[in-house]
Structures are given as C-alpha cells and as structure tokens.
Symmetry: C2
Subunit: 218 residues, 2 copies
DNA sequence: TAGTGGTCTAGACCACTCG
DNA sequence: GAGTGGTCTAGACCACTAA
C-alpha cells in the first residue's frame, strides 16, 4: 500500500469520525505534510483523490473543506451482452429479427436483434446506426453476431450517454421477448458520439426479473 | 488547461483515431516525455487518468496497452430525492407511512415513506436502519422529513452498493404509489456500510414513467 | 499582498516481470 | 539483468482570492 493511500485512508477516517467536521477548514497541505512526515506532493495526491471521490472541496487561498454528503457518485459499467450472459454460465444465442436501411435526409440503418441466454430471450436490442457517420455499416449483415461487437471493434467513441429506466412492454417487444404485454422491462438507452457527431443510438430491453445494473463505490 | 490535460486529450485522440491500436503497446513514459517535451511525472499523470477512465492498462516491465472497448465505465450519481423533485420544478411533499422498531438478535428500525412531486407519488422509500450501528436513529421520528436527509447529515458511510432494476409493483406498493398492481417500477436498491458494518438498506420504488437514472461519460 | 492550492521538474529508489 | 511503471522528494513558479 502506497503512503498516499495510507494517508488518504486516515483522512477518510477523520472525515467519517467527525474529527474533520463538515464545512470546516481542514489543515493546509503544508501542515499535513509536516504532520504525516511526507512531501507536499504526497499530501496533494491524497487530497486530490478525496476531491475525485467528492468528499472534499478545495479552493486556492480559501483552503479545503469537507463537503456535506449530498449525492454519492460511483462507477457504472455496462458490459457486453455476450460476456454478461456467458459470465452467468448460460449459453449465448443471437438472432437478427429485422434489418432495414432508411433513406431520407439522415440515412440510417435500423436493426432489431435478440440476445438469448440458454434459449430464453434475455435482451432485445433496437438500434439505429447513422450511415452518414458510419457508411461502412451498410455492408455488414449482422446476421451472425450483434452490431455491438462490430461497433466495439471498428468504431471509437468519444462520448456516451446512458439512461436507465423501467417500462411496460409494448405488444411488439413483448412478443419478441416472449412476455405478456405490459410486463415490466428494464431499459438501457445509450447514445454514442464521436466529436459531437451521433454514431448510434440503442435501446436495450430486458425482462425485469433477468437483469439489473449494479455499481459499487469506494 | 494544464499541460497534462492537453496531453491526455491528445492521447485520447490517438486512441479514438486508431493511431494507438487496441492491444498494441504504446510508447513508454520516457519516450512520451521526450515527444511531448515534459517530465516523466507529467506523462505519468496523463496516463494515470486514462487508466482511471479504463482506456488503457499498464503493467510494470510489460508496458501500457489500449484496452479493448468492451465495457464502458461512467460516473453515476443519484441525488437526494428532494433536490431531484425541486430541480424539476415540482413542489416536494413527504409522508411517513410506517415506522416500526423490530427487536431480536439484530434490532433495526423499519420505515416506509412516500416522496411526492406536485401531489403525485414519486418515490416510495422502504428502509431498514441498523440500531446496532445507529442506535440514535431510534430517537428520530422521521415524520416531517425523510431518513435520507438525517443520514446524510449525521452519518458518514464508507461503502455504498447500488442495484438498479425493474419490477412489477406488488399490490401493497402499488396502492401506496397510486398505481395499478403489476405496474412497472424502477427500483434503486442501496446498501450503505461503515467499515464493513451495515448501516442501512433501502429500496426506492418509482413509477416507471416518472423516473430514470442517467449518466454521461468522458 | 500574502497564503493557499495547482502544476511541473529533475532526480531517485523500488517492485515487478520479461527475456 | 534490464527495462518498465509506481512512488516519493525538494523545490519552483503560477493562479487565484481572501484580507
């Protein structure tokens, strides 16, 4: 364990124990350096990671303060569906249900795919790929494997937005997922951009009982 | 903009543009330091933040590699419900529906609260608070404001796990949320620990159409 | 204006692991 | 054994802002 990690741990202990109360100034970098017997850079590193965790705020000249614990931020990771299924020990299956090129002013490729775990529908993927940004997508059949794997391999992305919500299954989607209409779905909607140009937009629909997004902090 | 930020931006550009292909070694810190005309520490700092973003992996002696874009990690933040509602321009309301102390080997406080936006049920909060870890919770009525605000003010946490899922509303919850039974709900389940001791566990139930969790990366 | 944090440097030592 | 990343230091300069 690095020294700055030990120092950060001790700082977190002080915050949690109330020795560094909320909204009160904590000692300056120089003072902390003397106390812990390390260079200022090491203190800076420990404090920076506390800032990244959202535990403290720092302003030049004004000093550092413990932030009230309003929101809590944590890391969210959504893996590839094939790995997700195989990690659970299920056999992965894939079917392309629909593929259409839509012309007009903003031509795009519309796909509807089903990802299957041990024969059970696991995820319905409704995707739109911009043919302006990714004309090479039109040449891909996507009949044997999902567009996600191709996109990951082929296309870099600079920005991704994700929205997680619940919905009642519309009759169409319900049929594809072998669920009764109105069944609850967990929906992950994602948009991907490269330098502000939209690349692809996808809605991933999961039967409620089979999927959840988890995250852990600190 | 700091030099290490510029360098990190340039590195991200190279990764996205494919100039640093996936699974190939990228130049060493020393080489990059020469190229960018900065000290090794500055390169180290830029590369470290790429590691934190999950874009590259580094191993001593083995060098640094661009990680295949399988999963994508981003920051998830779940705000306080009162702010969530007021940010949308709604009037916030609160009602305590149930409060019970449960004895036994692991005594705890069980709460059921309703958070209201403009008169409409917005979130049903089902919470359990450990009276072993937080005996002072028993003295709190929680009749005027939710336990979340008290916990945030009073109690530090060291670890938080979150699980987001969809569910069909059970008859009990449906009634409290003024929904038909079986209606789709977005459920955020959170557990909070202090040094591995469980503090509180909560299930936040939202009508599907009124709530979603969003996140943005990079 | 003085004190604080933000950054960068040049150098050093260590831990790891590949050949 | 040698080359890589991980860490720490002592010092420096700058940007910001409260007094």
């Amino acid at each position: 364990m690095a020294r700055h990690d030990e120092i950060r741990a001790e700082m977190m202990r002080r915050i949690n124990a109330g020795e560094w109360p909320v909204n009160r100034d904590i000692p300056s970098e120089v003072e902390l350096g003397v106390e812990f017997g390390v260079a200022r850079g090491t203190i800076q590193r420990a404090l920076s990671s506390l800032v990244a965790q959202g535990l403290i705020e720092r302003r030049r000249r004004a000093g550092s303060r413990v932030v009230p614990r309003t929101a809590h931020a944590s890391r969210l990771s959504i893996p590839l569906i094939r790995e997700e299924i195989e990690d659970r020990g299920f056999a992965y299956g894939y079917r392309l249900l629909d593929r259409a090129v839509v012309g007009g002013p903003v031509p795009h490729l519309r796909l509807c795919c089903l990802h299957i775990a041990d024969g059970q529908p696991f995820q319905l993927e409704r995707r739109v790929i911009s043919l302006t940004a990714l004309p090479q997508a039109e040449a891909q059949p996507f009949d044997m494997s999902g567009p996600n794997e191709w996109l990951v391999r082929e296309v870099p992305a600079s920005r991704v937005t994700t929205r997680i919500s619940a919905e009642a299954a519309d009759p169409d989607s319900a049929a594809m997922l072998a669920l009764p209409p109105g069944a609850p779905l967990l929906v992950v909607a994602r948009q991907t951009f490269l330098a502000d140009a939209p690349l692809t937009r996808v809605r991933l629909l999961h039967p409620a009982e089979s999927y959840a997004v988890t995250t852990e902090s600190f």
